[in-house]
Every structure is written in C-alpha cells, then in structure tokens.
C-alpha cells in the first residue's frame, strides 16, 4: 500500500484565477500535481497555461497588473499566505524559461552557483561539488568541465538551456516549472532536454508548459488541456491523447485547431 504522504499532491490549486489588470487569463483552475511525475500543460497560444505556471511560484505578480485569487498550495501550505517568503518559496519551486537566460556577466560555474549563493553560506569545496552535481544531472558536466570559468553565453542554445536547468536544480528545489523550455531549441537540443526530464522526475515534481503535443505525449505522466483560460480536461497523458472525454480536447490533440 502506498503511504498517504506519497499520494498527497505536491502542488495543488483550487479555484485559481489569475488577472492581468481586469482581464482574467486563468479562470477558476483546480488542479493537483503528484510528486515525482511530469505534468504537461497544453493548449493554444493565450490559453493561460503559462500564466497558470507563473502563479505557482508567484512570478505572475511580478508582471505589472498581475494578481491572483484562489488557492495555490505547496505541500498543503498556501503559497500566497502573508508570511510566505518569496525567496524561500522560489528556492523550493524553481523555474526554467522559454529562452535560455544565462547571466551574461557570470561564468558557467557562477551561473550554476547563483541560486546557491543566495540561500546558503557554502565553502568553496561544497559549492564546487554542488555545481558539479547539478551540471552532471543536467547532462552538461562533460561538455563544460574544462571551461567552468569561461563565458556562459559562449555555449550553444541547447547547452545554455541545460545550464539554466542546472542553475534551477542546484538549490535542490521540490518542484521545477518549465515554461516551453524547448521552444527556442533545435531538434537535437530538444531531445536532450526531453531525455533529461525522465531522470529529473525521480527527484523533482515537474510541471511543463508545452506548445508541442508530441512532446507532451512523450514526456508527461499527466496532461491538462487549457482553453481560453479554463482547464477543459485533465487526466493521465495516455487517456488525454487516446480517449479524451471532451470534444474540444479531442479536436486540439488531433490537430483540428490551435
């Protein structure tokens, strides 16, 4: 029997509505994300899936006019509670963006260490070990181990994105949010990232927004389909792609719109 702890969702939303000014980009979304799985959010452009994702680590409120109502809970605790520290929340919920965003003034090593340095005082050796681990998990160590103190922006796009994944996992978060992480990469770079996800889910809970339905089908355990800000359907990925209950979902996954 699976212990209750493991079945409890790591991230849960109830009636989450996210606004830009007065416009609701996400409407009343209630979803639960179990630990150690890959969850895909799919839907056409402007359907609110990225906004939903950004509400989980409270990045949405950094956008001018960004505001949410409803509940987002991490391990049962409301992340919008007044006493929540953004620094601690974002240490536990990491995020990778559509375009690779290495810090151009920092070396490869310092990029990976950026989040670590913020949260803990580590000795040089500990820092070096954690950086190496993160780069290894991100599948980049062998390519950069000889130039750790070289420029991060000299790397290829795919390498930069894996560097950003290493930077995100270095502080050992519980959840990783990926916002179309392969949208700006070539097929090879995309494939490397997708392969990574299988290993990453052993340690992290992963929520990935993707435009690419094949990608969602390949990498995810559960899939939620967003349309016009609402969650139309959510379920096991196989079920969503082979026997969707809603007509809109079927129309979208078979490529009739979007």
């Amino acid at each position: 029997m699976v212990p209750a702890e493991a079945r409890r969702p790591r991230v849960e939303t109830q009636g989450l509505t996210a606004f830009y000014g007065t416009l609701a980009a996400v409407k009343n979304a209630s979803l639960a994300f179990a630990p150690n799985q890959v969850h895909a959010l799919i839907g056409p452009s402007g359907c609110g899936k990225s906004t939903f994702l950004r509400s989980v680590n409270r990045m949405h409120e950094e956008t001018p006019g960004g505001r949410v109502t409803g509940l987002v809970a991490l391990d049962g605790a409301d992340v919008y509670a007044p006493k929540v520290s953004l620094r601690r929340l974002r240490r536990r919920v990491g995020m990778v963006f559509q375009k690779p965003t290495p810090f151009p003034t920092m070396s490869i090593h310092d990029n990976v260490a950026a989040g670590l340095r913020l949260n803990r005082k580590l000795s040089r050796t500990q820092l070096g070990e954690t950086v190496e681990q993160a780069l290894t998990v991100a599948g980049l160590w062998d390519e950069v181990k000889d130039r750790l103190h070289g420029s991060a922006i000299a790397l290829s796009g795919g390498q930069q994105q894996r560097l950003c994944i290493a930077r995100t996992i270095a502080p050992a978060p519980d959840v990783i949010l990926l916002d179309e992480p392969t949208a700006s990469l070539d097929p090879q770079g995309t494939q490397r990232i997708e392969e990574l996800l299988f290993g990453l889910k052993e340690r992290f809970t992963i929520i990935i927004v993707t435009h690419n339905m094949q990608q969602a089908a390949r990498v995810s355990d559960t899939t939620s389909f967003f349309y016009l800000g609402e969650v139309v359907e959510t379920g096991a990925t196989r079920q969503i792609f082979t026997s969707p209950r809603e007509q809109k979902t079927e129309a979208y996954v078979t490529g009739r719109f979007g």
């Binding site: 965003t101 810090f103 989040g115």
Partner: protein, 268 residues
C-alpha cells in the same frame, strides 16, 4: 546614394579631424614636461605651464563627479526599474528640461545660490554647477542602458529567489555596467570642457590652490583667458592647453573602455 552617405560620414568627422589637426599643429610645439609641472610666468616672459589649471580641473571635475554620478546613476536605475511611477515620470521630464538648459544658465544659478550667498568665488561652486549639468545626462543614459537589458534576465534572477533590489544590482546593473560607465564618461568629458558655468563660480586663478573653497584655475578657463589676451605667448599657451584638454578627455575614454571590458571578451 551610397556616395552621398559616405560624403555625409566624411563631413561628420571632418570637423573633429580639423580641430585635432589644428590643435596639434599650433599646440604640440609648446607641450613639454614643464608645461605640465610649472606655474604660469608673468606676462611678457616666455615659458611657464598650467599645472595649477590641471590640478584645478581634476579637483573641480572630481568633486562634481562625487556629487553627480551617484545621484544620476541612482535616479537612472530608479526610473528604469519603476518606469510608470509618478516620481520617475516627473524626474525624467525635469532631466530632459535640464539637459536642454544652456550651461551658462546653470552657471548663473550656481552664482546666485552659492557664490553670492558665500560672498566669494570657489571651486566648489564650480563643482556644483558642473554636477547639475552632468546629473541629468548620467540619469538618462543609465536609464536607457538598463532598459536594454532583456526582461528575461530579470525574471530568471527573480525566479531564483533574488529580491528585486539584488536582481537589479547583481544582474541588471552588472550586465549593462559598460554602458553606464560609458555614459558617465561622456558626461565627464562634456563637463570637463565647460567654460561658461566656471566663469561665474570657480572664476580662475593664477596660483596653485588645493582649497576647493577658494577660486580655482581650470583648463577651459585658462584657454579662455589666454586666447582672449593680447600676447602671442598667451595664444601659444592657449593652443597647448586646448590640446591637453582634448587629450585628457581622450585618455579618460580609453581608460574606461579598458576598465569595463568584459572578462569574457576576446577569443573564445
């Protein structure tokens, strides 16, 4: 069409080349070690230098930088990070008006508020006038440079848990630091050559002075005095001083370029 553009480009740099050429032809002959280390000699005698004006310019401009750079850069960062706030919009508007204000007006202003109140001319009043001139320039260039930093970098730092102010300093300002320094340097170069505001404030002096509360010599004032004086020897010194002034600006520019070069530049 391309020919016209090339012509325009040549015409644009032509004055600079002519100025440099004239200064070198007329001034280079008078420049020697003594010119930098010696004091002026009485009218009618030959030789002498502008050591007092070099020291004066360094002190006046240095003090102006101490006042103007922190305020200008700080205001620029604020206006770029909170662009829609009322304070930012008002500050931006005032900076634009100040940028278009003739420097002589700023000189008169400094005279009214500092020289007249204190009852004597001083280098410090000159620094204040120059600081008023440089602050809006530095603010606007800083703001423009920060706006060039992609928002995605800011978001990446915020998503790692960096607070806003640390994101701003460690990621945003660091990324565009070369641009901010270049902007600051252009402002320094511009005020180093200002003459009109100093006429009412620092006044000029024939003596070496390191007391910024007293009237002080400055290179542009020396050029003004010598060039409008009656003696050929003075004219010679004026040319040489003008050349030194240009060279100081040039050296500053090159130094800043070297200092802000990214450590990742060069072959990869």
């Amino acid at each position: 069409m391309v020919g016209l553009l090339v012509l325009a480009a040549v015409l644009a740099v032509l004055p600079l080349l002519l100025i440099l050429g004239t200064l070198i032809v007329k001034g280079a002959g008078s420049i020697n070690l003594g010119f930098f280390t010696r004091m002026p000699v009485p009218a009618g005698e030959t030789g002498g230098g502008v050591a007092h004006a070099i020291v004066g310019t360094l002190m006046i401009v240095g003090t102006a930088c101490l006042i103007g750079l922190p305020i200008g850069i700080g205001a620029g960062i604020f206006a770029a990070e909170w662009p829609a706030s009322k304070i930012a919009m008002i500050t931006r508007f005032i900076a634009d008006v100040l940028n278009g204000t003739p420097s002589i007006v700023v000189g008169v202003f400094a005279w009214t508020w500092i020289v007249a109140k204190q009852g004597h001319f001083s280098g410090l009043a000159g620094s204040a006038a120059l600081a008023v001139l440089m602050t809006p320039m530095v603010m606007r260039t800083t703001e423009e440079m920060i706006k060039l930093v992609p928002n995605s970098l800011r978001e990446a730092a915020l998503a790692l848990g960096y607070p806003r102010w640390r994101t701003c300093l460690l990621v945003v300002v660091r990324t565009c630091l070369p641009g901010i320094v270049t902007g600051a340097l252009l402002a320094v170069a511009r005020i180093a050559g200002e003459t009109a505001p100093l006429l009412f404030t620092a006044l000029g002096s024939q003596y070496m002075s390191s007391n910024i509360q007293q009237p002080m010599a400055a290179l542009p004032l020396v050029v003004f005095t010598y060039a409008t004086g009656p003696y050929p020897e003075w004219h010679r010194l004026a040319w040489a001083t003008a050349l030194v002034l240009i060279l100081v600006v040039l050296i500053l520019s090159v130094a800043a370029r070297l200092a802000t070069r990214s450590r990742f530049d060069g072959p990869r």
